[in-house]
Amino acid sequence: MAFLEINNVTKSFSQGTAAVKEFNLHIEKGELVSFLGPSGCGKTTTLRMVAGFEIPSTGHVSINGEDITDKPPNKRNVGMVFQAYALFPNMTVGGNIGFGLKLAKKPVEEIKQRVDEMLSLIHMPGLGNRYPFQLSGGQQQRVALARALAIRPAVLLLDEPLSALDAKIRVSLRAEIRAIQRQLGITAIYVTHDQEEALSISDRVVVMNEGRMEQVGTPFEIYNFPQTEFVAHFVGTLNAMSAEVRDVASSQLVVQGQTIRAAQKLEGVRAGDTLMISLRPERLSFAADGKKANVIQCMVENITFLGSIVRVQLHLGESLLYMDTFNNPFLELPKLGDKAEITFSAEAVLVLSPSAAAA
């Protein structure tokens, strides 16, 4: 039995809209799982059902074997960090961190000790007497994290905690959150619409779309082996195109009149059928640098310099392809309008599931 179980959970609102459909997820103790998806995909609603702020229409949520589906939020021992910080403006930093402990009627000495411990954990020792309005956004969110952790919750829920912060602080704070989560060994759910954030911080990622789980896997699996077209498109940049099956046995496909081969076995299709395939931009390279299993002829449409990488936009018949290549000062780039031979391995060709292709 997993530490946190979300079984067959659905959530429909009074207007009849189903925000979450048949959600099943088991999370092990100490694991950090991210819910990733676009706005309105149901990720926050699912998190709020774990927190107790929404009641599932059907299904159950249990923590450590105890069914908490109908428990009010204040009885669940679940810590939550909000996008808007939600620090109590009338209380000092220390007051905020000690709030939950005070409610739990812990002795004053213990509260003081725990507050100091938490302040050290978030690298803000000695700032316990400040008021929230005297802190920067990043500091406020650290205090919110400390406040949620001070009660030693069974599960920590983070609802887009870094969305309101600027890019640099976001990157440093997410590393800090991950380090603290690992150090305390706390089970956590992290909601975000930022794929980079989800991939960098999580043990596993749940990609959601229109209330459904599209795919659950490690960040490596999600990025490299997307199982649906939505996941492939949503996570990372992707070249997706339709391909006609030429030969099932040898996994040969025809894309815009050019024959390529996939390493993946083609199942449930026949010669002449149409499939969706995808190629990550970083899996493509110029054939001049060494040919791989597949070589295709393209035309260079545009070249964008992005610092550490150079993005080349290519025309393959009527399809557009992106190719990412590492920047180096001696790189000889083709000119716009030039013909270019592009190569990629058979493993780079991802055949998306036929159902997704049909959709």
Partner: protein, 261 residues
């Protein structure tokens, strides 16, 4: 820039004159109670030596404190709930709170008298009816002040943050929402106090001792004392609101309502 400054000063001076000229004129008139003596404090002496002045002012003070307590206990949780769970009800609640602006006080009072004169709720002789009437009078001011205060804080997130830390509804309301609405509640309290302290219709028709009917009586029977009384009433009301403000505001650093800097 310079032109703007001149206009700002002109507007300020006009505002000050508008506010202080009637007060100075009233003061001047109240100091002429004795022939050939200026200034004469006879009108003030008469007022302060009248035991009814203390009785009526004390009563009004009591009514206003009770109104403030009950009104706060009714309006704050109601407005909070409307913000937190029933935002669609806000126009309806707002409409109800505007009742004293739409229905004249005399109509409201007769309505109360007719409704509560006899069974099943014979409250006519209870001060509860007067307090309830005053609460209705305070609705627009209390509701608007609290509503504005609640708009300035993230009610939903603060409530949920407190709940996730183990807080029940009482704790959420009294330890999280109330303290963060202190400034807003205080503005409602000042207005309620100012209205109740000089209110005439309810107290007079329900036959309760109050400062409003006393001032009316003095105005009808004396010449200089009503002017003195108006100034005393003004000073006392102002003084009382300043005391409430001093008690309510607490330390300077705590008055920040919400948000980052």
């Amino acid at each position: 820039m310079r032109k703007t400054n001149i206009w700002a000063w002109i507007i300020l001076i006009v505002g000050i004159l508008y506010f202080f000229v009637p007060l100075v004129a009233t003061l001047d008139f109240s100091l002429r109670a004795e022939k050939d003596v200026y200034p004469s404090f006879e009108a003030f002496r008469t007022v302060f030596s009248d035991p009814e002045f203390y009785q009526n002012f004390g009563s009004s003070l009591g009514w206003s404190v009770l109104t403030i307590i009950f009104s706060t206990l009714l309006i704050v949780p109601t407005t909070y709930w409307v913000h937190y769970r029933l935002p669609n009800w806000r126009p309806a609640v707002e409409f109800v709170t505007l009742m004293p602006f739409v229905v004249p006080a005399v109509v409201l009072t007769f309505g109360l008298i007719r409704l509560y004169c006899c069974d099943p709720l014979p409250l006519i002789s209870s001060p509860l009816l007067l307090i309830a009437g005053y609460m209705v009078l305070s609705f627009p001011y209390m509701f608007r002040a609290v509503d504005t205060g609640l708009r300035a804080i993230d009610v939903r997130t603060l409530t949920e943050a407190a709940q996730s830390l183990g807080a029940g509804w009482g704790t959420v309301l009294f330890q999280v929402i109330f303290p963060n609405l202190r400034v807003a509640i205080l503005s409602g309290v000042f207005l309620t106090f100012a209205i109740v302290i000089g209110e005439f219709t309810f107290a007079s028709l329900l036959s309760w001792p109050a400062f409003g009917p006393y001032m009316e009586y003095m105005g009808a029977s004396r010449a200089y004392e009503p002017a003195a009384l108006a100034l005393i009433s003004f000073t006392l009301t102002w003084g009382s609101t300043m005391i409430i403000q001093r008690i309510g505001r607490g330390r300077g650093g705590e008055t920040q309502v919400a948000g980052t800097r």
